[in-house]
């Protein structure tokens, strides 16, 4: 087979800072982690709304992280 020029890895290509699965993982992890924190705070303090606050905050943080990765200037 003829020699090809070396192919840079998926993460070495300068324009790609990540892929769609990073965005999905960030959002899912945000909802899970901060929803869990919210639920734990709920059962500790006896309230019932903190889990929703946690889920929304986690989703917001996940979106912020995705924005920073893909859109914000380096």
């Amino acid at each position: 087979m003829a020699q090809r020029p070396p192919v840079p890895s998926h993460s070495e290509v300068p324009t790609s800072r990540g892929d769609a699965w990073h965005a999905f993982g960030a959002l899912a992890a945000g909802v899970l982690v901060y929803g869990l924190i919210g639920w734990a705070l709920d059962s500790w303090l006896g309230t019932s709304f903190l889990v929703v606050v946690g889920i929304l905050a986690g989703a917001g943080l996940g979106i912020f992280m995705t924005w920073k990765r893909f859109i914000a200037p380096q």
Partner: protein, 273 residues
């Protein structure tokens, strides 16, 4: 008889459920209790399918690669094309030509193993997708998790690797404190779980749909009023159509599983941020 009174009685038909995927063991039906759960002793059909898939994949590629002629015959050409597909599109293009060869045996074996096991759902007399049993899928995901973490730790050192996986790209300042657990969970926990869940849910749901259309169509044809019987034929036509869709899904799920594996390995080894 009006259509309303000739409608199907719900209690006559028991719809299929995930319990139908719990195949009984071949041979003596002995059970034992451990940790409060009842376990089977015995070999079940999915276990045999795993072994059969391994034998088939190894056998095919061994026979294809045996002669290693410079001008390949048909079988060797097919084997080379299959190997090249995984090695190029998933190994070299994702991991990079610098150190992708280490991982090609794993990706190659994984792709064809998953593909053959998925296609077992369509082959007559077997007709069971092995990866609709979640334990088998989570084992594969565990292996993949161990590999990409081990590779990353070897490349960056343990603390360096944790930093690599936990600090998100392009973020500085105090908000890092909120984002580090998020990024860590996203890279270390969510990835293997979604990898396994994707394959398992696709195989389970697809096969459940096929069972529903087949059994439902049979029930409609045999045990419903005459006006409703054509719906049974329609159910069977849909059964055939969805079988073709399932073939596509089987290939695609195997491809996506190995592609994501390669991407996780590439992300763990890479030198970015």
């Amino acid at each position: 008889m009006s259509i309303a009174t000739s409608s199907i009685r719900a209690e006559g038909f028991t719809p299929p459920g995930p319990g139908d995927f719990n195949l009984p063991p071949i041979g003596p039906d002995k059970t034992f209790d451990w940790l409060g759960q009842t376990h089977y002793i015995g070999v079940t059909k999915p276990m045999l399918q795993l072994v059969l898939a391994g034998v088939l994949v190894f056998g095919f590629f061994y026979i294809a690669a045996r002669r290693q002629a410079m001008v390949p015959g048909r079988l060797q050409f097919m084997g080379e094309q299959a190997y090249g597909f995984v090695r190029n599109s998933m190994g070299r293009d994702i991991i990079g030509s610098h150190d992708f060869m280490r991982f090609v045996p794993y990706l190659f074996a994984l792709f064809f193993f998953i593909l053959v096991n998925n296609v077992f759902a369509t082959i007559p007399f077997i007709q069971f997708p092995t990866f609709s049993r979640s334990g088998m899928v989570y084992s594969l995901a565990l292996l993949s998790w161990l590999i990409y973490n081990a590779v990353g730790i070897k490349a960056h050192g343990f603390l360096g690797y944790l930093k690599h996986q936990s600090v998100p790209a392009g973020v500085t300042g105090p908000i890092l404190g909120l984002l580090i657990p998020l990024e860590f969970i996203s890279n270390i926990i969510v990835r293997p779980v979604t990898l396994a869940l994707r394959l398992f849910a696709n195989m389970l749901a697809g096969h459940l749909l096929l069972i529903l259309f087949a059994l439902g169509g049979e029930y409609l044809l045999l045990e419903s009023a005459a006006l409703i019987k054509p719906v049974g034929i329609l159910a069977w036509l849909l059964f055939i159509a969805i079988s073709f869709l399932e073939l596509l899904v089987q290939f695609l799920q195997a491809y996506v599983f190995v592609l994501l594996n390669a991407m996780y390995i590439s992300g763990a080894v890479s030198e970015e941020h």
